[in-house]
Symmetry: C2
Subunit: 306 residues, 2 copies
Amino acid sequence: MKCRRCKAPAVIDIRRHNAAFCLDCFLHHCREQVRKAIHEYKMFSPEDRVLVAVSGGKDSLALWDLLVDLDYEVDGLYLGLGIGEYSTESGVHTRQFAAERGLKLHEVDLPSDHGFDIPGAAQVTRRSPCGACGLSKRHLFNSTALEHGYDVVATGHNLDDEAAVLLGNVLRWDTGYLGRQHPVLPATPGFVRKVKPLVRLGERETAAYCVLRGIDYQVEECPMAEGNRHLGYKEVLNALEDRSPGSKAAFLFGFIERGHERFAGDAEHERDELGACTVCGAPTPGDVCAFCRLRSQVGALQIEVR
Amino acid sequence: MKCRRCKAPAVIDIRRHNAAFCLDCFLHHCREQVRKAIHEYKMFSPEDRVLVAVSGGKDSLALWDLLVDLDYEVDGLYLGLGIGEYSTESGVHTRQFAAERGLKLHEVDLPSDHGFDIPGAAQVTRRSPCGACGLSKRHLFNSTALEHGYDVVATGHNLDDEAAVLLGNVLRWDTGYLGRQHPVLPATPGFVRKVKPLVRLGERETAAYCVLRGIDYQVEECPMAEGNRHLGYKEVLNALEDRSPGSKAAFLFGFIERGHERFAGDAEHERDELGACTVCGAPTPGDVCAFCRLRSQVGALQIEVR
């Protein structure tokens, strides 16, 4: 197996591209895919201040590394979720990555800054921990970016993540979610721009990138996500991809090119109906935003929520 | 396990409805689901002459039986595909069903009427036999219905079939196919109306219906379809359905309610560009329709096709 670019012995093959690469050309490939995504979807320019949401896992550390490498002005944000050993180690990996490279890292800690953790929230709400985790992340990534004047929040969602989310949205024909699923969510009143520069790289590629770049990441998957639907959708798509390489990318990019626009109106409609949370001021369809309602439910905020 | 309707001991449970039925109430359930589909999608009225495409398998024989039972005026059409023993047996089951009930059955035989069979077509075109089979069926169902003055062609596509086709169309975001995927395809110049009255019944239900009604159907699956994509999509959807009963129906009916209309324009656009086949007069985007081109390729028709 030879490198497609330089004909040296290859270290990795990527079936959907029908290509193999040596170490240097693979790193080049990853940078090019990210560069292409940023330009194709007009994610941000060198003048923009970018905040990367970093979990300490392969995707977000690869993303931070790649964006720094591409000369963007980019700081990190680590959110402590209070998920025992898993969170402790995630924090260690993230801080170590930032310190070794002299990069600026913001930290928000759910337990100490907001009075609850994800396992506790799941217990009190009697719902999936992934729900509480997702809404906390969305809220705090956005509010931290606004607070510190960043133009855009970048997350490490890769091709596999996005295809799995799309499959879930399509299986339910959730038209609002379909309208919002895009590599770029433009800024709207109260929301900074959100971008996903890894959308052209699979998770096998981001893992290989970290290994080959010597990035020490948190290998464990979140213990609370086990058996969730999202992972089931990933399995299904992996089975289809095995049978027919490239089908995952065709699914996601086919949607972006020929599907998304047809649902965009549904998402706009939802956005138009947002007011300001009476507690924190964040945009919300009700009086109190989902994050403040969660804080109230877990007893970390003393408000009357209907 | 007791029957939901009459509390007698149940013979079958249907997880997506969270229900079980005794024999009589299960047959009632099947009739109601078909009645509901016909009314909901305005498939046809008692005045319409309906032609059912019958393969001798569980779905099409159940459909014919159900439509007769619901007092519609409905004749059958059997298409001989020339797939060895499989086709021979399919024909026997179909003729026996019609004869026992005194129903009118039209027959078209690919080898004797059109000079080729599906295995031969697959060999000559070096493409999937399912492609040649599908296009022959679409062509001959329509031309036979037109020839004998039927208003509508009904096919035995069930919930599992339609969900699998939808998954394939969505994975490729094939917008023309998505625009055409609906339980009713209205008549357009050169095309009779096409309807799928079994769309609310799963294939486990149509099989049980035949068994409980004493209908002797062809149990073997087509030997040429083995390993095709459609069956892969069915497996994937079955895995999702096992995990979360009702997800297959939510996927299909969510599309019909909230997705289909957004793609309907793409299908109309394709229809607007059709002319008449210079050989047989059927609607086609080119000079010669796909069926006549296939006949020419297999040497059954002497024409110059570019």
